[in-house]
Symmetry: C2
Subunit: 333 residues, 2 copies
């Protein structure tokens, strides 16, 4: 069996639907023999470990633990889906606070137990915020932390393919940027459908403005639609795509979709958000040149402002310090 | 994107936990671009299809339908997890009857809509019986139908690895044969642990008889243990392993574990059960030479007799004809 690396990959939240799928996906991709599953819920975690063992993956050295110290010690790569889902009676703010606190603790644990980690992918929601909080508290460099943002772009690709009746792969360059939430910025420029520019199709009979607006609506509500159809949150696509991200960071196939990353451009800074990115062995790199129409740039700015508002709420909650003080916690920022 | 084949693969029961995992697994393995998902439950099915689309698999031509005719037409490979789970108040016989009837209909549908199918893998329980019923009604050759039996062997491998504290892949040749149920025959001969014969270890300090009995007990109760730990039936390992089986039938990597197949050996005949098998492009082949100790052979015989009893129940239910009349339904038997 040949693996991409021998380095330890730790999957945080492995007892959940996303985490358990990530474990199987990582094993199937032969990323590394050394996969460690972590979850605070030991019974479900053992069940997942048993399932993966019963797959009989050749050469896999699977471990699992409910001790975060053991899970992170020696980890070179970490993917975390380990947030809490929104429960009955919880407000959006309760969820934000709860998951931001989980992210803060994860960041601190990374700093304590695996300061030499190479890359961390954060996917629990709101991922832009939890990724930012993890980055701040971990002390890592901005290139080392990414968040799952790609599903909005894959959903755009899928919706366009359905609308035009073409194969999904014939839609190239479908992109959303900014926040991974309803305030995302859906771009048309840069995308092509069977070789034809998407922007040139919008407003024609082939894609009337109203239909384009509906497509954008379906993209921003893509996650809610899965809940409606399956009766449960999306878990296969976030698991698969986030493992594609960590594979790229391990030096494997380049990651083809936007990732959420720490952005420092004048006017767009001190947040984590979805950008045009490349993930490779050196981490994530993003394009500083903002392409797109004026209205697309305005939508991105609006999405950014929504993120700033959420970020400031988390500052007000005391989970992260004020922006001016980030350097004191993480000198890389 | 390079695929193993361009042939259509139909996944039956794709809205369920196993079926949806099979869809993702098959796409990840790049078996074929032409994957068709079938389920009688259209809403959940659409949700699964959306999830797979959101993974953004390059070149994948995913279709889904709740029309079995559309699903099977042109299919060259079929994997079915499409049985009903046992519900409250149902007896084991109710389950057997219900799933045998589903298998009979699947067999008839295969005969009607895709008589040129190359290979069919059946995994819904009791898989030995549902596989046999499908084979009889499909009119296919015995080589063309296999059932999932491997998880008992992978569980044995896993339990032995845990007991001896070795890597799972250091346990070679772990095997169970016969029925995929509690009456399975767990073999020790042929297995080695870190190069040492398992049979020679049994009864020594390293593996006292009582401990070996406990291990066998854990293997036969492996599925029940997953339910206890995860609160749901095993779904990742059956999905992954069954897609490994169909990959082998497509001409991909050889399948490394026992498969359930139609057996015709004097004294062991007219059943489908787990044997030492090879699955390749020409289908499944099994070893006619029964290795093992006398007590192992006796256990296999006992397991066979249990299957015969279940088979005869299904005959009594009228789902399949009497053994002597199988040829009138399927001349290949």
């Amino acid at each position: 069996m040949s693996f991409l690396t021998q380095d330890k990959l730790t999957i945080v939240g492995a007892a959940g639907m996303i985490g358990s799928n990530m474990a199987q996906t990582a094993a199937m991709m032969s990323l590394t023999p050394n996969i460690c599953l972590y979850d605070p819920f030991p019974t479900g975690l053992e069940g997942v470990a048993e399932e993966i063992r019963h797959c009989g993956f050749e050469g896999l050295n699977l471990t699992f633990t409910s001790c975060i110290k053991e899970a992170l010690t020696g980890a070179k790569y970490v993917v975390s889906s380990g947030g809490a889902p929104r429960k009955d009676g919880m407000t959006r703010e309760d969820l934000l606070k709860g998951n931001a606190e989980i992210a803060a603790q994860l960041g601190k644990d990374i700093k304590t137990y695996c300061p030499d980690v190479r890359h961390v992918v954060i996917i629990f929601n709101p991922a832009d915020i939890t990724g930012l909080v993890t980055l701040i508290h971990s002390g890592l460099r901005p290139e080392q932390v990414t968040t799952l943002a790609a599903l909005d772009s894959t959903r755009l690709q899928s919706e366009l393919a359905k609308h035009f009746g073409v194969a999904q792969s014939e839609v190239v360059g479908a992109r959303t940027y900014g926040g991974h939430g309803e305030a995302m910025a859906v771009f048309s420029s840069g995308a092509t459908v069977a070789g034809q520019s998407l922007s040139s199709l919008i407003g024609t009979d082939k894609l009337p403005e109203a239909t384009w607006a509906e497509i954008k609506e379906r993209v921003t509500k893509g996650g809610a639609n899965i809940i409606k159809l399956r009766g449960r949150s999306s878990f296969q696509s976030p698991a698969y795509v986030s493992i594609e991200m960590i594979r790229a960071a391990m030096g494997g196939a380049p990651f083809r979709w936007p990732a959420g990353c720490y952005v420092a451009i004048p006017g767009l800074d001190h947040v984590v958000m979805g950008m045009e990115t490349v993930i490779d062995k050196d981490g994530v790199h993003y394009s500083h040149e903002l392409k797109g129409s004026e209205s697309e740039k305005a939508a991105l700015k609006k999405s950014y402002e929504h993120l700033v508002k959420m970020r400031d709420e988390v500052i007000a909650m005391g989970v992260i310090p004020a922006v001016a003080d980030w350097k004191s916690v993480n000198p890389n920022l």
